[in-house]
Symmetry: C2
Subunit: 443 residues, 2 copies
């Protein structure tokens, strides 16, 4: 029963027939794109391949988000990631003249008295850290948004637990963007640098091997050093020296089988588009920003929020799930009409009776990657595999900084330089011994 070790110890074989990539990026969502772009930019001589199961980039959760961007976070790390990413997007749009539909129309939190008291210490801290905020009292709000009911008083509002609006807080350097345009920017730049993309290529599993193979059955064994040799896709095996996992909500499907707990769980998130001629007036609300539109607005109950779509005279609305909405991945997540009708609608119409009798014109569902520990991304290396996942509903907001951190980890650097020059430790967002506080401002 001695091991049969008389075979020579072999290195990883490299067949001359197959391309062996320096870097393989799995997932062409916004995080994979940003990471691939920054890796290729920093290392132009490397061969970098990005694969995605869909027919084009950014077809999954990237294009299903609300596309809100903000620098209003309670965690210093989150603020830094968000702020530098937003500044990079501004640079892309204003200096590189690549339109991202980026408009800093603000985030407007409508707060009850109770919520305002919870917010106050966060507000003080954020202002101290340079986050630009503006406060509105009831009088301001009544005059700026005449359509808003500050004190809903119907029988229904009481049942639902609707509370009066006490104040509002606007994050001034927040706004909206088109995630698919940010994705397009990264994709085009990545290709210009010589990066390659393969679509319709679903990664089925990551391949872990013994570093020194011994031709024993069932390798790698517990005592063997391990290395990722590549991935199995729906079509073939792809070899690479480094694998970047940027698969968002699908991540545990790939990592559980090799024993890596990615810390995140997928939760369905639904978006409904509401369109009405009456919406036009609300969309053209003045006084909050130069665009003369209503900011990305968060109502006091269940995180119901509205994002104006100016050209289409419509809003996108979503809500924050409470207990009772399951965790788990589905191939084809579907929006539920009853979620709008019984969940969002009653809250929305108490504050904006304006939307009475409205029906969603469109709806879709994607996944929020819940990291229930601290609601911050996971960026770490496990041998020659780098994880860039779990952006917890703010992947668009932080994608540029997150990609730079992953690229720094790829290079073995202890720090990453974010857009604007700020440096950040690449050890903050590891799988274990994370050095971040729990984010309290989750939308």
């Amino acid at each position: 029963m001695k091991l049969d070790i008389d075979v020579a110890v072999r290195g990883n074989e490299l067949s001359g027939m197959e391309k062996h990539w320096d870097v393989l990026v799995v997932g062409a969502g916004i995080i994979g794109l940003s990471t691939a772009y920054h890796i290729k930019k920093d290392n132009s001589d490397l061969s970098v391949l990005m694969v995605d199961r869909n027919a084009a980039a950014a077809q999954a959760d990237t294009r299903k988000t609300m596309g809100g961007i903000r620098d209003t976070f309670s965690s210093e790390t989150n603020r830094l990631l968000a702020k530098s990413s937003i500044e990079f997007y501004q640079h892309v749009q204003n200096e590189l003249h690549f339109n991202l539909n980026l408009q800093l129309i603000g985030y407007l939190w409508l707060l009850t008295e109770r919520e305002f008291k919870t917010f106050e210490p966060l507000e003080t801290e954020m202002r101290k850290q340079g986050v630009r905020l503006r406060t509105y009292d009831r009088k301001d709000l009544a005059s700026l948004i005449p359509e808003l009911v500050l004190d809903p008083k119907t029988k229904q509002s009481n049942l639902i637990g609707i509370e009066n609006i006490y104040k509002a807080l606007q994050g001034l350097d927040c706004g909206i963007v088109s995630p698919e345009l940010i994705a397009k920017f990264y994709e085009e730049e990545f290709k210009k640098q010589g990066g390659e993309l393969q679509f319709n290529t679903e990664v089925k599993s990551l391949c872990l091997e013994a570093k020194n193979k011994l031709d024993l059955p069932g390798e790698p064994h517990i005592w063997q050093e391990k290395v990722f040799s590549g991935v199995k896709t729906s079509r073939r095996f792809i070899k690479a020296d480094t694998i970047i996992v940027a698969t968002g909500a699908r991540t545990s499907t790939l990592l559980d089988p090799i024993g890596i707990d990615c810390l995140i769980k997928p939760k369905k998130r639904q978006v409904f588009q509401i369109k009405s001629p009456a919406a036009e007036k609300l969309i053209n609300t003045k006084g909050f920003n130069e665009s003369n539109t209503i900011p990305f607005t968060i109502l006091p109950k269940s995180g119901v929020c509205l994002r104006p779509i100016r050209g289409e005279k419509s809003f996108w609305v979503t809500a924050e799930d409470d207990l009772g909405r399951g965790l788990g991945y589905e191939e084809e997540p579907m929006p539920e009409e009853s979620y709008f009708t019984y969940g969002i609608y009653p809250i929305l119409t108490e504050y904006f009776p304006y939307f009475a009798n409205i029906h969603p014109a469109n709806s879709w569902a994607g996944f929020y990657d819940v990291n229930s520990i601290d609601s911050q991304p996971i960026i770490d290396r496990v041998h020659n595999c780098i994880l860039v996942v779990g952006t917890s509903g703010s992947g668009i907001i932080k994608a540029d900084a997150v990609g730079r951190m992953a690229a720094a980890i790829f290079k073995g650097n202890d720090e990453a330089t974010l857009y604007g020059g700020r440096r950040i430790s690449t050890r903050l967002l590891r799988l274990t011994n994370r050095s971040v506080t729990k984010e309290e401002l989750v939308v």
Copy 2:
């Protein structure tokens, strides 16, 4: 599209025909049993029902563990939970005269020079905190365990990456116990106090309802206050005011559908029994403890460890999984012979050539509940549901203290009193904002 809210708001209906329990404990493993015992002991007038899918208590992972107990942990919280639980088990065996097969034969870490250096700061800290430890140098070891090869020098040992043993460290207040006897103690006491048990009753789901039901389709909605009304089992619905979830590795199956991330993932853990006439000599090793047997022994490679079974002249052995062994639950986890043959055996026989040509006489597999954040239990309340899960391979060791903490949370107390009188905050091990350091001494 207004909600139909003209029906009177109703409380939870209570049919006179069905028993409505004060407390329902799901899972009669050691954690459920300890929790049920402590809740019933503190609140004798409450009706407490414990259900389990198996035909008797402690039939799943509780009886598949190695049954080692130790107070040697790097985390202060873990040390406190372990120490007070071990003292309680001693009290049960020595003063209540309920045999638990508890023997403080020690834990013996055989360490390479590299490992010893990592261990040293932990050792210093543990000694400072009152953990009783004894160090052995190579001369001691050679004389105490002549069967042990301190410097394996075979061709195989080099390939496997076996290193020389430099020193050993013994935790003196550690040892072995029969988990099923601790379980039996709690079960009998729980029944004496009037607690009830139902077996062959598998909980399929937890039932979450709106606190104030409105007879709307799809309740509870996002804006409704929620309450757990009971559980659906393979046989019927069981109503209860409080539900205790103590389902170990199965927990995410129950909690994911209601949107609670329990933070733990199951990982298969295998135990092999090795039996040989030659083992007798090793079992009768003198000098480590009053029982004149070899301690629970951990080898330097891959966490391979041996637990002596004196009466049967055999050992149980297991190993620590590395990358490549998947996460996930299976109904019938099976041990793999190749895991022993190619994983454990080569390491074991390098240090104990003594075991050459041995075959496992028996083997089984259970689940380790991986909490990759800090390797400590999760004890928290979500509305009227209390989670007591994720004991990360040390559920037996800490079961008494964990049960007391859950019982304190049930009573709404901010602190629990552990056996021996030490008090501990019930907020340390919550689902979020946990206040514990990562445990570094995982076996």
